[in-house]
Structure formats: structure tokens, C-alpha cells
Symmetry: C2
Subunit: 331 residues, 2 copies
């Protein structure tokens, strides 16, 4: 973030709140289920089911992203995607996003414009019909993007994490461990000592590039959430903190033991179990027939001494912890 | 925020996310319209009208509050109140809050417990039936409280800021300028040079104490929003940035001129016009009969050269700008 004045790309601190909001809103407008959009005290969003699914998730510079690695577009895309995934995990269709931005004065207008582009394009690609319907802008030394996503159940019952029953098939849709692989690449190859340095994708092969995309611009299978609900899923959640930790949570909430097969977890089962931020959908289905997009990774068993068994053994893979690696002194 | 270890009141950085969330959620549970509350990927909230009103507003340490002046309880209360006011300003009844907290590691558990108390008590006092239904916790060097409020229109049409018509009566419910008076007190009497010092209410008279409360724990007339809608309000908004600026916004959105009477603005009309953060409800009503709780302050006229006239003259009172007084170096 250069601090030299640049008339073509002003610092946010040199603009009024209204000027910044107009620049952002011009980019987030898109067809949606909004009855009243940005510009009033609140938005009004259609909730035809008579209920609304609501979730909030925040990205903070440092623990959740680094500006050396994430463009404004990446950041907007990821902030949208992680929230859309939580709506999808209830079996709902995302209808609207609200975006609360806390921005440093030195940040450039072009950055938040690209952030708005990221929100718009993530909605268009992952959850058509969903749009940014409102937001808030304030100033902070720490760039913070707090997003709330709303969704509609379209008449279905919500799918919680507590409904898995012994005999159910355990399945996932989406990637496992790719986002963690991407983060490993960033920490291994795109920093100078403790300092993050910009990413040069030209030096990466296809696999590494896909892993980097999974970390910086994840594409969770949002549309498969409602499909899983229609197919009769008994429990569902998004895998944000690693499969091991999240499968344990589902097992504990459901009062069952989940038994996974390592062979079903790809070529790096440990990374698949431990790596967070993929936002795959983890679901339990009665019987063996799965909806398209889901693959079997295990089964639900009666409650035993452990929440989770992999190939019959308990696992000790700690989950994703946003506190773990963050040191404000080193960035 | 002392940094000495204290077993009875641990630092958040020494606790797991789950431990912190359990301590908070034990305090925010209350009767509400929630179908599925905290603990799953998303909450599900009743939206019997078939639409949902949604708004988001963030409080950042520095521009929006100072820890020397605001207790955890104050901060939770205010963060709830300002969001509830935006829902009420649409004519809706608040149904749910989502709270995204970004907290410094050094913050004490007792602080976020009192923050949770503030959210619960503000809902109970200002919007019975509304409750915290979900949230997010992350770590940041800057304490940030991003809140989303949801509401239900109970079958009424939403009241926007663009419906005021020539001949309407302009009215307000709630205080004007009190929160600004409270802020003036804090800057005048509760700091040592540039450094905020703790508030000693014992040295204040009743009027000053009320002004301080208006700043630190505002009590906007949330219930009057739905009542105004039922009474036929043509336009409504909450006065967050000062009456002058917000009345101008209503006039511009409605394509009219708003004419106010200084005599109707209390004993300090300039402060009433300029002071922000009271979250009074500003509304236009057809005819002269006002619902209980609203008082006449002016009228809507055909569009002229100015958005706003006070006693027939244009006013140049700048509104509330959260960027204005914040300097991260001096706090």
C-alpha cells in the first residue's frame, strides 16, 4: 500500500464515506432477490419460506489473509465464499450478503473496488441470484471484512449437524486439504523470512496453482447444499476447520461415532483430515445412494469411546485454529 | 487491559475459541423468534412476513468507542442499539442479531462476558423477542464489533427514506443532540491531554449523566418504528449522523425540501442539528395527527433550491463523520 498521493487512485482517508460507498455499490449491483437494496437504513430481502438462514464470518488482516498474497478481488471472493458455504451447509440457497468493511485510511480506492468485484463475481459464480444488499464502512488500522450471508430454505427443513444416524453414509462434496496445501505453498515459497512477498504464479505447476486458488479464491460447492437437503441428508456442515475436527463436531452433536476410510481421502489423507478452509460440504445420507457431486468417505456407527475413527483407529489431528500462527509483530 | 496473568479472568489469547464462545453464549441465550440458534453453521430465524429486513453496523475501537470510557456492557448495549434502530427505521420489529467479534489476545474474558450481557439486556429493554442468534470470533489487534440485525415487517410495507410528500408533517421520536453532549463531556472532562481517562459519574449532575448515558448506552425508541409504520408514515430513517445531514438525505431521496422550526429542536438547536449518534427516528406523516411518542419539528415542502431549511434559512451544519477525529497515534 504506497502512501504517495495518487490522483487516479486516492487513499480512502481522502474521500468521504459517501464517495467510497458509491464507488463500491456501482460494482456490486446485480440481479437478486432484493426488495430494497443499499441506500436506506436497512435492506429488505425476500424470504419466501417464512424463515431466513443467517450466518456471519469475518476475515481479519493477519490471521485470515495477508495483503501481500491476496488481491482485493481475492479477498472479496473469499469473504463471500466462506459465508455462502455456511448457508449452503444448512441446505439453503443464499439470497443476500451484507458487508461491513473496516478499512485503513491508507488503503487505495482501487483496492475496495476490486474487493467489490470479488464479491460480485463470487456470487455470480457460486450462488446466482445472491447479491450484496447492504453494508457498513468504518475506519480501522486493521483491514477487516465482516460478512453476513442470508439464505432461503425453499420450503425444506434445515439440515443441522446433529441428525446423523448409525448406518448413514458419510460423504463429502468439494476439495479436502487443497486450501491447506495452498497456504503451505505461500508460507514455503512466497515469503522472505517472516515477511510475505507477492505471489508469482508463473513459477507454479498446475497442481500448485490449483492449491493456491483453493486458498485464495475457494469455490465451495454451494449449489450442492440444497441438492443434498432434497436428497434427504440427515446432517450437514461445511468443513472449515479440517475434516477431523469438523467430523468430530458432527459426531458429537449427533451422538454417534463417524468412521472414515483413509483410502477415500485422496493421496494425502493426513492433509485432508487436518487442513482447514476448503469449505467442502460434509454430509450424512441414509443408505448408499448419494446425490451427484458427493463421494463416500465413511459411515456413521453407534456411539463408541471416540467421536471419530479412521480405518478403525482414533486420530489425533488438531484442527484449524486462527489464533495459532498469528503474531502481530511479525505479520 | 492489564497483561498480568489472572487465573480468575484469563486473557482471550489463553483460551480456545470454543471456551470463549461457550462463555459468551451462556449469557446471550434468551427467548426469541429463533428456530435454530448458535452452534450450527447458520441460524434459522422466523420471517413470517415472507421477507426479512437486514442491516449491519460496526463499532471499531478508536473511531467509534474508547475502552477507557466504555465498559464491555456499554459496548454490547450500544452495538445492539444502533443496529436495532436501523431495523426500526424501516418500520420493522427486530427479530435477531448476529455478532462478529474481532478481539485482541490481551482482552480479558470478563470483558466479553459483560459485552454479551450488554447485548442481552439491550434486546430485553429495547426489542423484546430479539436475541443474539449467531456470531463469529476472530483475533485482531483492534477490538471490532460488527453486528447484523434482522427484522420482520409483520405484513406492513417497509418505510424508506424516499416517500416524504409535500404537506407531510416532519416529526421525531427520541432525543436529539444528547449523545453529542455526552461525547463533549467525555472529551472535555474525562481525558488527560490526548489520553482518555475513566469516567467518574459521581462528579456529574443529572443532566450530564443522562447525556453520558445517551452516548455510551443509547436507548432509541425501537418500538415506535413499527408504530409509525402502522400510523401511515410516508418516510422514516434513524438519525445517526445528525438531524441536519439526515434530514437532508431524506429530502434528497424524496425529491422535496424539509422545513424545520428551530424552536421545536429543544434548548440547543445547533447541537440538535449537528450532533450524531442519538438514533432518534425521523419520520414524515400525512396530516397533523402524530402517533404517541412523536413530536412535530417541521413540514415537507415542494422541492426548492435547498434540501433543508431551518426557520426559512439554509443551514450549513456538517454531519457526523467517523473519520474526522480519529488519529491512531493518539487514540
Amino acid at each position: 500500500m504506497p502512501s504517495r498521493p495518487d490522483a487516479d487512485d486516492p487513499r480512502l482517508g481522502d474521500l468521504s464515506e459517501g464517495e467510497i460507498l458509491r464507488a463500491i455499490l456501482a460494482r456490486t449491483a446485480q440481479a437478486s432477490h432484493t426488495l430494497i437494496g443499499p441506500g436506506d437504513d436497512a435492506a429488505v430481502v425476500a424470504a419466501p419460506s417464512g424463515s431466513v438462514v443467517a450466518t456471519t464470518d469475518t476475515l481479519v488482516h493477519g490471521p485470515d489473509f495477508r495483503l501481500a498474497w491476496s488481491s482485493g478481488f481475492d479477498l472479496g471472493w473469499k469473504a463471500a465464499a466462506v459465508n455462502l458455504a455456511d448457508v449452503a451447509a444448512m441446505g439453503a440457497r443464499p439470497t443476500a450478503l451484507l458487508v461491513a468493511l473496516a478499512v485503513p485510511r491508507d488503503l487505495r480506492l482501487s483496492f475496495v473496488q476490486r474487493l467489490a468485484d470479488g464479491f460480485r463475481e463470487a456470487c455470480a459464480a457460486l450462488a446466482p441470484g445472491c447479491a450484496v444488499v447492504g453494508g457498513d464502512l468504518t475506519v480501522s488500522d486493521v483491514l477487516t471484512v465482516a460478512v453476513t450471508a442470508l439464505g432461503d430454505l425453499e420450503g425444506r427443513a434445515p439440515i443441522t449437524r446433529s441428525g446423523a444416524r448409525p448406518g448413514d453414509t458419510v460423504a463429502v462434496a468439494g476439495e479436502l486439504g487443497h486450501a491447506a496445501q495452498g497456504l503451505q505453498l505461500l508460507f514455503g515459497r512466497f515469503r522472505d523470512g517472516e515477511t510475505p512477498v507477492p505471489v508469482d504464479v508463473a513459477v507454479l505447476g498446475d497442481g500448485d496453482r490449483a492449491a493456491l486458488d483453493a486458498q485464495l479464491r475457494p469455490s465451495p460447492p454451494i449449489g450442492l447444499g440444497p441438492m443434498a437437503a432434497t436428497a434427504g441428508a440427515t446432517a450437514m456442515m461445511d468443513v472449515s476447520d479440517g475434516l477431523a475436527l469438523d467430523a468430530r463436531r458432527m459426531a458429537a452433536a449427533s451422538g454417534v461415532t463417524i468412521r472414515l476410510s483413509a483410502a477415500a481421502l485422496g493421496d494425502d489423507p493426513v492433509r485432508a483430515l487436518a487442513g482447514g478452509e476448503d469449505h467442502a460440504l460434509l454430509a450424512a445420507f441414509p443408505g448408499a445412494v448419494l446425490p451427484p457431486g458427493f463421494r463416500r468417505i465413511g459411515e456413521v456407527a453407534d456411539r463408541s469411546d471416540h467421536d471419530l475413527l479412521v480405518d478403525g483407529d482414533p486420530v489425533d489431528v488438531s484442527g484449524w485454529d486462527p489464533y495459532r500462527d498469528w503474531d502481530s509483530a511479525s505479520g
